[in-house]
């Protein structure tokens, strides 16, 4: 070694750490990973008075409701630029292992209690000392831990008002629904979602029918007539589809109504921030139960239907047969995010109903009781004109009068009334469905 080099011993730059080398005599240094160790459980207590603290939507920080202490949350706004991950075989295999189904035990540092953490919970509140804990379930895989979330923008009081307003809408519900319903405690919960991006290159092939007007001579009528003839031609084409932030829930349908959840899933992904445990303090949060591959299958099925629809739109006529297509997915990527939802149950009569509020946009959806007498009355009103005309028309027909016209009109009105009645019934039924 030269004298100059001997004097200055080489040292690796900061932010680098030594990693394993497979060859003796060669030292290898690599950048220190951004998160080398998983997030450890974190307890929230007020540094002033020792009381439990929680994230306060209005204050935008972790607040103590006793002494007024507020600690701002370190917010890193990432929006739609939040990091996305590829479908590497490693990630897919790790995702398929899921979180396991063991209940964990957490030692509460405040009171010493041993807390049993239910499956999938990211947060916990000690039932003995009410202290809030975050990161109680930890993913050992860096990519599969929550990396981004949308914080709650609507607080519990606002969401309750939104629910009451929503209850007051609609004519076929009990009149006193909004006034008399006691909306239970709205539980703010961060639910797991997968977002998917992909480019789709689709090729379609089909027989496409073009209408042609043909003039021909009708010998029986002894005149020229026109008729429309469809000429079929094989055609093909291609479309490109760009999918950005396609949302699929990571919650299990066993625990949550996916129908209701879908109705409130109008999240604005520009609101994404980097995951920070402070946002979860005092709130519930769940890890995913639907694995990445399961969610992607759901997403892919929906996306390929979108592609099929786009292919149909690409075809210049409505006459299509023997349609086939292929859809190549490329540059697929995913994100695992936590999104804010309020969930509540309310009672109306003897039944309990579920309602959800989007914690970011305030969209409300849920089950709503139906005043069935209103439905039956409406159905009766819709069928009545047809029945009435039929009742008038039938005797007139028997008497040899002009009852045929009234009978025909009655039949048409009855059929129309039947269709509208069926639709109304279905809508009412869905309103109560889980």
């Amino acid at each position: 070694m030269s004298e100059e080099n001997k004097k200055s011993v080489w040292t690796p730059p900061e932010q680098y750490q030594q990693v394993e080398s497979t060859i003796p005599g060669v030292d290898v240094f690599a950048p220190i990973p951004k998160t080398a160790v998983p997030d450890s459980p974190k307890k929230y207590a007020c540094p002033n008075c020792g009381a439990t603290t929680a994230y306060d939507v209005a204050a935008g920080g972790v607040a103590c409701e006793y002494c007024g202490y507020i600690a701002p949350v370190h917010t890193v706004h990432v929006g739609r630029t939040a990091e996305e991950f590829e479908f590497t075989l490693d990630t897919i295999s790790q995702s398929e292992r899921g979180w396991g189904d063991k209940r964990q035990v957490l030692h509460c540092e405040s009171c010493g209690a041993e807390l049993s953490i239910p499956f999938g919970a990211l947060t916990s509140t000690c039932p003995y000392c009410a202290s809030n804990h975050v990161n109680v379930t930890i993913s050992l895989n860096e990519e599969l831990r929550p990396r981004f979330l949308i914080p709650f923008k609507i607080d519990a009081a606002q969401s309750k008002q939104l629910v009451i307003n929503w209850l007051g809408k609609g004519w076929y519900h009990p009149d006193d629904l909004a006034a008399n319903t006691v909306v239970g405690r709205l539980t703010g919960i961060y639910l797991p979602f997968w977002t998917f991006d992909t480019e789709v290159d689709a090729l379609w092939r089909a027989e496409v029918g073009y209408e042609h007007t043909v003039r021909h001579y009708n010998p029986s009528q002894k005149r020229w007539e026109t008729r429309t003839k469809i000429v079929w031609r094989w055609q093909n084409g291609d479309i490109q589809l760009s999918i950005d932030d396609f949302l699929v829930t990571g919650s299990s349908p066993r625990r949550i109504s996916l129908r209701i959840l879908k109705e409130i899933s109008n999240f604005v992904m520009n609101g994404l921030v980097a995951y920070e445990p402070d946002y979860l303090a005092g709130w519930q949060a769940q890890v995913y139960e639907t694995t990445l591959t399961e969610a992607w299958e759901v997403g892919k099925s929906a996306i390929r239907e979108q592609a099929k629809k786009a292919c149909y739109q690409d075809i210049p006529t409505n006459h299509i047969r023997n349609f086939s297509m292929s859809a190549d997915f490329r540059d697929e990527s995913w994100r695992y995010v936590l999104l804010p939802v309020y969930m509540a149950a309310y009672r109306s009569g003897d039944e309990a109903y579920q309602v959800m509020v989007n914690g970011q946009t305030g969209a409300v959806a849920g089950q709503k009781p139906v005043a069935w007498w209103k439905i039956w009355l409406a159905i009766g009103a819709m069928l009545a004109p047809g029945v009435l005309l039929g009742l008038i028309g039938l005797p007139l027909l028997l008497l040899g009068g002009s009852g045929v016209i009234l009978l025909a009109m009655g039949f048409i009105l009855f059929v129309l009334g039947g269709i509208f009645s069926f639709l109304l019934y279905r809508k009412a039924e869905q309103s109560e469905a889980k």
Binding site: M1, S2, N5, W10, P12, P13, Y16, Q18, V19, E20, S21, T22, I23, G25, V26, D27, V28, F29, A30, P31, E86, F87, T88, L89, D90, I92, K300, S301, R304, A307, K308, F323, S324, M325, S326, A327, D328, F329, R330, E332
Partner: protein, 371 residues
């Protein structure tokens, strides 16, 4: 550090690693070979302009470390020559497979193999292979069918570190005309080489390096660095690297030779000049000017032109005969057309060799260090 020891000079009386060889040079091109005593006086295989004479030579006494044996035998050479000869329509008289085979001289040409200790620090972007899953969906007959596809990608990350290692047998230029020689021979499958032992060269001449290690080192160092880079890639468990750089001290350099086989042959062109052809002794790739003979072309053109002239003369006579025998005009016409066509055809052998030779722009053997 670079090699500082000067290369010793051996004269024709000194023994080398083998007692059977002695140094002999070509006074015309300046190339030097180690030859067996009965090969003194034979024509220089790479210039074919002078005979080899004993002479002192500046070279290292150590025997070569590795050798790549000949894989092309005489039968294969005949086929190679036949293929080359068949490509030329009007060839020089001497350009035949038999003549080329008769003129063939096997020889080994040298590369340096350098060993070095290395101590320093390095950095690179290390590439790690990974696989991603992609989907293809097919819709037909109202049913969807899925197919998964796995695609390989490379993930790049910075890596750096220290190194204290030793590299062996990094090949480096040992001839001034190295670039030209590589052009002439093409690439060799170096992995097929074996350790050298005396006698493996058989009757082949051994070309002596004319590019000493002192000069070769600056050109060899990038190859040594590349070898170190490969070590670092392996150490980092990576599969690829880019932007590799190293700051290191190189010590204990050891230079040995690596012998590569080639056949040299020649034919004589129109001007009586020897045209050298080089054949890779392993792959059989032949390089060198494949010239057509303009002189023979002209001769053929003259003969064909003469025939054309004769036909035209007969046509003229036939034309004169029409005055006394009118049907002769038909024969005269036919002879005239034939004469014209033959005359036009005579231009082809006149022009074609020149055109062919103009397209012979491939590499030619260098003239030698003397030039």
């Amino acid at each position: 550090m670079t090699p500082t020891a000067t290369t010793p000079v051996f004269d024709e009386n000194q023994a080398l690693w083998t007692e059977n060889h002695q140094a002999a040079g070509c006074l015309q091109c300046g190339r030097v070979y180690l030859v067996q005593s009965d090969q003194i006086g034979q024509i220089c295989p790479l210039c074919r302009k002078a005979r080899l004479e004993p002479q002192p030579v500046r070279m290292r006494a150590a025997e070569p470390e590795r050798i790549l044996p000949f894989r092309i035998d005489k039968n294969e050479l005949t086929t190679i020559y036949s293929n080359a000869v068949s490509r030329i329509w009007i060839k020089p008289v001497d350009f035949t497979p038999e003549s080329l085979l008769r003129n063939t001289i096997p020889l080994f040409w040298p590369l340096w193999l350098v060993d070095s200790d290395i101590e320093g620090h390095w950095q690179m972007e290390a590439g790690f292979d990974y696989q991603v899953e992609s989907s293809q969906e097919f819709y037909n007959g109202g049913q969807w069918r899925s197919r998964k596809q796995v695609e390989g990608r490379v993930h790049w990350e910075p890596r750096l570190g220290k190194i204290q290692t030793h590299v062996d047998n990094v090949s480096a230029q040992a001839l001034e005309e190295y670039q030209n020689r590589v052009q002439m021979t093409g690439l060799y499958p170096l992995q097929q080489s074996r350790p050298y032992s005396p006698g493996l060269e058989n009757q082949a001449l051994l070309e002596v390096p004319d590019f000493p290690p002192e000069d070769a080192w600056p050109l060899a160092q990038p190859a040594v660095d590349q070898a170190v880079g490969e070590i670092c890639v392996e150490a980092a468990r990576a599969q690829h690297s880019r932007n590799f750089s190293i700051k290191a001290d190189y010590s204990n350099l050891n230079w040995t030779q690596f012998l590569l086989p080639l056949y040299a042959t020649h034919y004589t062109d129109d001007e009586g000049q020897p045209q050298i052809l080089i054949i890779n002794g392993v792959t059989g790739a032949l390089k060198g000017p494949l010239l057509a003979s303009s002189k023979r072309g002209s001769r053929i053109a003259g003969i064909v032109g003469g025939v054309a002239g004769g036909l035209l003369a007969l046509a003229l006579i036939g034309l004169l005969l029409t005055m006394v025998f009118p049907p002769a005009s038909i024969i005269a016409g036919i002879l005239g057309v034939l004469g014209l066509l033959t005359g036009i055809g005579a231009l082809f052998p006149l022009v074609q060799p020149g055109q062919w030779n103009r397209n012979q722009t491939g590499p030619r053997i260098a003239k030698g260090p003397r030039f």
